[in-house]
């Protein structure tokens, strides 16, 4: 039989990167957190499905990582006796997974939820609020689709976002609007939080960022700098510029949403 013609890419650094991202961030940082309330709950059906799925994902992580870290993966494969399910030693388990295109909808939903939680967390950081503190939110401006995402995953969302109440109407107090995927959610912080004071703090941060951004812009227009500086330095400046701009945009949007 003729060997299937293929061209190797040899981008093992890329393979390492995507697997690392998946394992560290998607699996460890988010999925396990999603599982905790499910495992604490009493729904037998949900429990069984989640135990099965998480074990399946875990096994597949070992499969993806085996060529990179063979000892570790083999050890865990044996620990969990995955051979009983896959009927193969890890060293001979192929990389096939069946793609489920119908899962795309759920994927987008959870992705949005993750963005929302991330946004709540980073707003707390910007406002100097302890990350562990609970807040109330209002979802009155959300469309029904997004509302149902929150309702369907209410326990998980409350736990990860540190949210105590999810209200459907705006409260009569100062709130901060965050925009996630084009949809607006209002966050209500403790009454003790002096928003005006925070506003000043953020304003001074904004000024500081403006100064830094202008500094880099001037540098990057300077022909003799571009000519003489090593490429790494120039790239570092360019990257800093992008990062500062993103930060600035975020702070400005918070500033705009603080009502007086």
């Amino acid at each position: 039989m003729r060997q299937k013609k293929h061209i190797s890419n040899f981008r093992f650094d890329e393979a390492a990167r995507v697997i690392y991202q998946f394992v560290w961030h998607s699996y460890c940082d988010w999925y396990i957190e999603f599982l905790k309330p499910i495992f604490d709950s009493k729904s037998k059906k949900n429990l069984e499905e989640s135990r099965n799925t998480s074990a399946y994902i875990q096994a597949n992580i070992l499969i993806l990582l085996h060529p990179f870290i063979p000892f570790f993966t083999e050890r865990v494969w044996q620990d969990f006796k995955f051979i009983n399910y896959f009927k193969k030693p890890l060293m001979f388990k192929n990389w096939e997974v069946q793609s489920q295109s119908s899962f795309n909808k759920s994927y987008k939903k959870i992705d949005w939820l993750i963005d929302l939680v991330t946004s709540i967390r980073s707003t707390k950081v910007d406002l100097n609020v302890p990350p562990g503190s609970f807040i109330d939110i209002s979802i009155s401006e959300l469309n029904s689709n997004k509302i149902s995402i929150i309702n369907d995953n209410l326990d998980v969302f409350k736990r990860l976002g540190r949210v105590s109440e999810v209200g459907h109407s705006e409260l009569n107090q100062n709130g901060i609007k965050v925009i996630v995927g084009g949809e607006t959610v209002t966050l209500y912080f403790d009454q003790n939080l002096n928003l005006n004071q925070q506003k000043q703090k953020i304003s001074s941060k904004v000024k500081d960022l403006d100064r830094k951004i202008n500094g880099i812009k001037v540098k990057l227009k300077n022909k003799s700098f571009l000519k003489k500086a090593p490429k790494q330095i120039i790239n570092r400046e360019k990257k800093a510029l992008i990062d500062y701009k993103i930060e600035l945009k975020k702070l400005n949007s918070i500033l705009n949403s603080i009502k007086n």
């Binding site: 190797s8 650094d13 394992v23 396990i32 599982l35 499910i38 499905e49 074990a55 000892f71 969990f80």
Partner: protein, 629 residues
């Protein structure tokens, strides 16, 4: 909890034993596709360094991926006998015990080498196992094994019959300490401080001199011309005249040759065809005599004036300079920086020497090797290496394949008393041919020399698979799928395998050549003992485990970029393992098990669908790194 983190110490050995015991590294016969790699054979004298660790982590990654995905997969391991390196080590060991190699004699010396190999050789193979390499150790080969030696002899006889291998008298890099020809690879060009001597040569029949500049004044004893550039106005009128070489008072001609640089030194060049590669070419163009002035040990021979015979080359230099000074023939001495060739084993200055050696017609062999790369039967990654490959192949010189050593494949050539050469696969055969030629039994003496180590390494991809026998492995796994190599040996090794493979098997030895970069320290500096910035892979494996080292090296191996390694990086990836370890503990506590009832299609919860979708994406992206359909 007793053991909060992953502990690699006991685990790695246990796991490796389990793999070996179950013979998991042997190819699994499959009707479908195959995947094969031959290891770049480490020197039998070697110990694992970071370069090996990167090279072999990448190979193992590829091998494991394809083995998992149902390719019939072979990773062919082995070691190289490393002629000169091994001989030097054993020689040194013996001399520490007060034993002289020459007194011991050839056969006993070789026995000592084998003894050394049994005791201390191959330690690198155990180190590769520590790294997790899944080679089929049952097929382990050594370039001096019986099978491989037979393949070497057969190749020599075959190429000799086709007149691709021949004997010739040529200039070679000569190591006067080890008394052998050595390859370009074994020559290290070092920048040193030297004296540049300006010496006056008297023009015969005139009262004037031409000054020549040289860093090696002793070679003037072998001068057979003085050359100037034909465009050089200063000397135009002298061309064709005769000039006297000082000390030996030899009359030589002043010739014009475009090679001579008008800017360098005085613009006039002493020509010593027997001891300088450029001069040798000038000599050929002008049909000059070549006069060798050195013995094989670097002492002056009997072509020179009596008082100089037997002097070491550097002693002779001092004597000559003194004499020139006394005769007012030394114009001046300049202190300059120049590059001087040193033997990398002996650290002795290399002397180009005119000797009779065996050569292979590399120009001829290169033709097919160029063709297969042009036709993309062999593809280089990153692609620009093929340009470098072509450049070198188009300028290839005859390959000097004989070495004046004892440890190696002895050249299968026998000589009769009247110097007739009989090349055969063994002595019996040689006697038979000689008998036929002389019509009677004659006494034959075997060539004393051995072959360049790269000659046997050039056969590695097919000799290890069984060639010249028609084995299953040769049929199934050749051409091998990919060669993973550092760029430093593309010419010395990769090119030679390409030449031999395309000639002897009529097929390229690899479909792809993946060229990886160097491992440097975190600041991008080359690791070296003198800088004290060497990171020893075995230390790292002990401290953080083989997996952490592998993951670090592989994630940093972007094409064409050097790996800037630091211990902190390894520590970081070690944390990654701990993170997964803890996630696994979470699964265990919560009783996560795979049951036969799992039906992914029927998944209900958004989060479970989400993670599954993420897995599919990751699986697809990761596969793309290995294979692009």
């Amino acid at each position: 909890m007793q053991n909060p983190n992953y502990d690699h110490h006991t685990i790695e050995k246990e796991i490796y034993d389990y793999w070996e015991k179950n013979k998991f590294f042997k190819p699994n016969k499959s009707k479908k596709k195959y995947f094969s790699i031959v290891i770049p054979p480490p020197n039998v004298t070697g110990s694992l360094h970071m370069g090996h660790a990167l090279n072999n982590s990448l190979q193992d990654l590829l091998v494991r991926f394809h083995r998992m995905n149902e390719y019939e997969t072979l990773w062919q391991p082995g070691t190289d006998h490393a002629g000169i390196a091994t001989q030097a080590i054993v020689e040194k060991k013996l001399s520490e015990k007060g034993i002289n190699k020459n007194k011991l004699g050839r056969d006993n010396f070789i026995k000592e080498v084998w003894k050394w190999k049994k005791e201390s050789g191959d330690q690198i193979l155990n180190q590769l196992k520590k790294l997790g390499c899944s080679c089929d150790w049952s097929r382990n080969r050594f370039t001096m094994d019986k099978d491989l030696s037979e393949a070497v002899t057969k190749t020599f006889v075959l190429l000799y019959k086709k007149k691709i291998i021949y004997k010739d008298t040529k200039l070679v890099n000569w190591d006067t300490k080890l008394e052998t020809a050595i390859s370009d690879l074994e020559v290290e060009q070092k920048e040193v401080q030297s004296n540049l001597y300006y010496i006056k040569y008297k023009i015969i029949g005139e009262d004037s001199f031409i000054t020549i500049a040289t860093t090696r004044p002793e070679t003037m004893l072998g001068d057979t011309a003085v050359a100037v550039n034909p465009k050089d106005e200063r000397y135009r009128s002298y061309v064709g005249k005769e000039i006297k070489v000082p000390i030996i008072e030899r009359k030589v001609k002043i010739i014009a040759d475009k090679f001579v640089s008008m800017e360098q030194g005085s613009g006039a060049l002493k020509v010593t065809p027997a001891h300088d590669f450029n001069d040798f070419e000038i000599g050929k163009r002008h049909k000059l005599k070549s006069i060798s002035i050195f013995e094989k040990n670097g002492k002056l021979n009997n072509t020179v004036p009596k008082e100089l015979i037997g002097l070491d080359r550097f002693v002779a230099r001092d004597v000559i300079i003194k004499t020139l000074k006394e005769n007012n023939l030394l114009e001046k001495i300049e202190n300059i920086k120049n590059t001087v060739p040193f033997g990398d084993r002996s650290n002795s200055i290399i002397e180009p020497l005119l000797t009779e050696q065996w050569f292979a017609d590399a120009k001829f062999l290169a033709k097919k090797a160029i063709h297969v790369v042009k036709k993309k039967k062999t593809i280089f990654f990153p692609h620009n290496w093929s340009k470098t490959y072509f450049q070198w192949m188009f300028n290839i010189q005859p390959w000097c394949i004989s070495r004046q050593l004892w440890w190696g494949h002895r050249i299968p050539a026998w000589y009769s008393k009247d110097k007739k050469i009989f090349v055969a696969e063994n002595e019996q055969e040689a006697n038979k041919i000689a008998k036929k030629y002389y019509k009677k039994n004659v006494e034959l003496k075997r060539d004393e020399d051995v072959l360049d180590t790269w000659f046997s390494s050039a056969l590695w991809p097919f000799a290890t698979l069984g060639w010249p026998k028609k084995t299953y492995e040769l049929k199934r796994f050749y051409p091998t799928s990919v060669l993973v190599t550092g760029f430093d040996i593309i010419f010395f090794w990769v090119a030679r395998m390409m030449m031999m493979g395309t000639h002897l098997i009529q097929k390229e030895p690899f479909s792809k050549v993946y060229v990886h970069a160097l491992v440097r320290d975190e600041k991008g500096q080359k690791m070296s003992k003198s800088k004290g910035n060497v990171i020893d892979p075995l230390d790292i494996i002990k401290k953080y485990g083989a997996d952490a080292l592998r993951f670090t090296l592989i994630s940093m191996a972007a094409p064409g970029r050097d790996v800037k390694l630091s211990e902190d990086r390894v520590k970081g990836y070690r944390n990654f393992l701990n993170k997964i370890w803890n996630a696994n503990k979470f699964s265990k506590i919560n009783n996560c098990k795979l049951s036969k009832k799992l039906n992914i299609k029927k998944t209900k919860l958004d989060v479970n669908k989400w993670i599954f979708f993420e897995l599919v994406k990751t699986n697809f992206e990761a596969k793309k790194a290995y294979i692009k359909f």
